[in-house]
């Protein structure tokens, strides 16, 4: 059952990702990305990461992507033009990069063939651990072991806010 769900939503993910590449208008790409994020959230649920799934929807899909869509509409970005003079370097290095990435993936698969036998996923109840991935457990970790990074991250957000305000300000 998990396998089926995985394949469905995996396919949706990949399809949306490829759509992101193929579309010419950025708004279409943004909407595809939202689809990707949604499917990913579902995959997280399959993996028992409830909190992360929720945060994915709320923050990523709900805030970050909204920001993207907002910016696209603000700037009234049109369709992508086809410029004759595009960077050859990017294509020359990008395609091999993509191939390399995929090759790594396949290779990892082959190397860790043993992982084929390890199966994961399913609700925590099935695995015999109560509360794996729920907010309480994560909170325990976050506010105790990872307190310092947490606080530093909050400063990072502060800086980002200030930066965004300064950068986007219209010159008077």
């Amino acid at each position: 059952m998990h396998l089926v769900l995985f394949f469905i939503f995996g396919a949706v993910c990949v399809g949306a990702a490829i759509n992101l590449l193929v579309q010419k208008h950025p708004i279409n790409s943004a909407l595809s990305l939202i689809v990707v994020m949604g499917s990913l959230a579902l995959l997280y649920l399959l993996l028992g990461a409830e909190f992360v799934a929720a945060v994915q929807i709320i923050v990523y899909a709900g805030a970050v992507m909204v920001l993207f869509v907002f910016t696209i509409m603000l700037l009234n970005a049109g369709e992508e033009e086809v410029l004759p003079h595009s960077s050859r370097v990017a294509i020359v290095l990008g395609v091999p990069g993509l191939i390399a990435g995929l090759a790594i993936g396949v290779w990892v698969l082959g190397r860790f063939a043993g992982l084929d036998r390890i199966s994961i996923g399913g609700p925590a109840i099935l695995n015999g651990t109560e509360g794996f991935g729920n907010p309480q457990a994560i909170a325990h970790l976050l506010f105790r072991d990872f307190l310092l990074p947490f606080e530093v991250t909050s400063i990072l957000i502060l800086i980002a806010i200030m930066g965004a305000v300064v950068l986007a300000r219209r010159e008077e």
């Binding site: 370097v89 990017a90 294509i91 290095l93 790594i104």
Partner: protein, 669 residues
């Protein structure tokens, strides 16, 4: 009980420093005072030292003073110290005495010259180095003095450095000396390697157990290498070529450095090393042969020279050859004796020549002289005494010294060398009297003056100066003193066969026989000090003396005939001799030979291989190539910064892929 001998070298050094650094602002009188004062003080102190020395008991001779350690490196050490024995005492008196007289003379000679203070500073500097050389108690300090006198010689030969020929002559002297110094240095290295350090006592003590080497061994090698050094400094074959050129310097310089003192440093060094040579008969023979050959070779060149100073230069080379001959037959005392008398008469000859040149306003060519005895009576008489001395007429000084050398050569069995020496003596007499006749007798052939301009500038060998005139008293007095010494200087060494007591040789005995007991070969060194034990020897000696005087007389008559009685003959003889004449006149073309065989190849190699090949191509090329290589590399790297964002993106992706691949590879190992 220190005699504070360090004062002696340091006084002239102080004079040189003061005159050199501050003399530009001094008046001539002040420069004089400083220069002469320090030299006179040195001479005076030397006299005092002599008196004290003569009162020393025998076991305190040699008198050694150690002042400070100079080098201390492992087992090798060298120090500042003074070694005073009879040999260095004699040299000391010669150097300071004759040096002082020449300083006085220089006041008059250099009166109208520029760079007055510089001249006296250099002269004092030379005195310092020469005294260091003589008084040193180890070979290293001797070498310091050795190089230093070479330096002073260079500075003084090239005193008129704006003249190309003078500057070239200075360089030639220094470089030729350097060739000899190379041999000297190797000898020093051998000494250090085999004996530990260079202190005289140490070396001589270490050498004494060595047997006499009948085949070439270590001591022969050292001896030959020391000989090479002496050849360079004392202008023997084949390194004599710098001495005639050195006549470019002022005449007092020629007198002091290239007659009386510096060129005798080689002889001194050989004499000082007599324990080594006593045990290396091959090296000793080499010394004798070279000396003899040089004596006759230089004499043959001197016969035809027309420049008065060049004649004297070749004469110096020839007489140095005699000294080498003396050393080579282990007649060390005779060698030093001749050195002493030579200092007197050769300095006198040069200074008289200087007076003549000065009186003629710079003329040096004897063909333009003649009949000068009317104009310069004092100079004439002094020069006469000097000429008769060098020819070897008794009872003047050189007769005794030269004859002693020749006698010792014969007595040792080297008849061939004696014969060559006698012939050279005849030639010496001949060319010296030729000079005498050409200069002082006959008609004055000099150019008449057009104006009465003072033609003293530079003392170039050109142009007369109106009437020849006598030199000022400040120049004549040293001449007279030297003439007196030439007369009586030989009397300290009158051999027993003539009724004297051979005092000089006896005086020098302890220097040359202190290690003689290690020479079982019945060295000739032991022989000459005693009076001839039998009448046969005595009569032989007398017979040889008569032959010497006869030969000198033949030379006199030959010169008289050719240059006084029939003065047109020499030109005819020259014409008939043709090619041979020009060959000898050209000094056997030795300079040209050296230039072609040695100098040109070196210059060629330097230019083509070292300069164009290695320096320009290799080194410059390497530097230039690396610079342009860096430029090319950065030119290539520059392409990364295209300003095109997507190419940046491409590079980022590429870099990330590389890093990831590396990490994966690392992880799976």
């Amino acid at each position: 009980m220190s005699l504070h001998l360090w004062i002696i070298p340091l006084l002239p050094l102080a004079g040189a420093a003061i005159n050199g650094l501050l003399g530009k602002r001094f008046s001539k009188a002040l420069v004089n005072t400083i220069a002469l004062g320090t030299t006179a003080a040195a001479f005076g102190y030397a006299l005092y030292v002599t008196v004290r020395f003569l009162g020393l008991p025998a076991d305190q001779i040699p008198h050694i003073e150690r002042y400070a350690t100079w080098i201390s490196a492992g087992t090798f050490f060298a120090e500042y110290g003074i070694y005073l024995d009879q040999l260095s005492l004699v040299m000391l008196l010669i150097v300071t005495g004759v040096g002082f007289l020449i300083h006085i003379y220089s006041i008059g000679y250099m009166e109208h010259e520029g760079g007055y203070y510089r001249y006296f500073a250099y002269l004092n500097l030379f005195m310092f180095f020469m005294l260091t050389l003589i008084l040193a108690n180890n070979y290293l300090l001797l070498f310091v003095g050795w190089e230093g006198v070479g330096l002073s010689s260079y500075l003084l030969i090239g005193f008129w450095f704006l003249k190309d020929s003078a500057a070239d002559a200075g360089k030639k002297a220094f470089i030729t000396n350097r060739v000899g110094d190379f041999g000297f240095l190797i000898a020093l290295f051998l000494l250090i390697k085999h004996f530990g350090n260079l202190q005289y006592e140490h070396v001589f003590n270490a050498v004494s157990p060595y047997p006499v080497e009948v085949t070439a061994g270590l001591l022969t090698a050292i001896g030959l290498l020391l000989l090479v050094g002496a050849i360079g400094k004392s202008a023997q074959i084949p390194l004599y070529v710098w001495l005639p050129d050195a006549m470019e310097g002022p005449t007092p310089v020629s007198a002091l450095i290239h007659a009386a003192t510096m060129v005798t440093a080689g002889v001194y060094m050989l004499e000082r090393s007599n324990p080594i040579f006593d045990r290396a008969p091959i090296a000793l023979m080499a010394v004798a042969v070279i000396g003899t050959l040089t004596a006759i070779f230089a004499a043959s060149i001197g016969i035809l020279q027309t420049d008065i100073k060049k004649v004297l230069a070749y004469s110096t080379i020839s007489q140095l050859g005699y000294m080498f001959m003396g050393v080579g037959v282990a007649a060390y005392g005779a060698g030093i004796f001749h050195l002493m008398t030579h200092a007197f008469f050769k300095a006198l000859l040069f200074l008289s020549a200087g007076a003549i040149i000065h009186g003629l306003g710079g003329e040096q060519d004897m063909r333009h002289m003649g009949g000068l005895r009317k104009y310069m009576p004092y100079t004439f008489w002094c020069m006469t005494i000097a000429t008769f001395t060098i020819a070897g007429f008794p009872p003047l000084a050189a007769f005794f010294s030269k004859d002693e050398i020749l006698w010792k050569t014969w007595a040792r069995g080297d008849h061939v060398l004696w014969l060559i020496g006698i012939i050279a003596a005849g030639m010496t007499s001949f060319y010296m009297f030729r000079l005498w006749f050409l200069t002082f007798f006959g008609q004055y052939r000099g150019a008449q003056a057009e104006d009465s301009a003072h033609g003293h500038d530079g003392h170039d060998a050109r142009g007369g100066h109106g009437t020849p005139h006598e030199s000022p008293m400040v120049m004549i007095i040293p001449l007279m003193i030297l003439a007196l010494l030439s007369c009586v200087g030989g009397w300290v060494g009158i051999p027993t066969v003539l009724g004297g007591s051979d005092r000089f040789d006896h005086f020098l005995d302890p220097v040359f026989h202190s290690t003689a007991e290690a020479a079982p070969g019945g060295e000739a060194a032991a022989m000459p000090a005693e009076a001839p034990a039998n009448h046969e020897e005595a009569s032989t000696e007398l017979a040889l003396m008569v032959i010497s005087v006869a030969v000198a007389a033949i030379g006199f008559f030959g010169a008289w005939f050719l240059y006084y009685k029939r003065p047109e003959l020499p030109a005819q003889l020259a014409k008939s001799a043709g090619g041979l004449y020009t060959f000898v006149l050209d000094k056997y073309k030795v300079d040209e030979f050296y230039s072609a065989a040695i100098i040109k190849p070196i210059v060629l190699v330097s230019t083509n291989v070292l300069w164009k090949g290695i320096d320009a191509t290799l080194i410059d090329g390497a530097v230039d190539e690396s610079a342009s290589g860096a430029k090319d590399i950065s030119d290539g790297m520059r392409q990364m910064q295209s300003g095109n964002i997507r190419s940046y993106a491409g590079w980022v992706a590429f870099g990330a892929a590389v890093v990831i691949a590396f990490m994966v590879w690392k992880g799976v190992r």
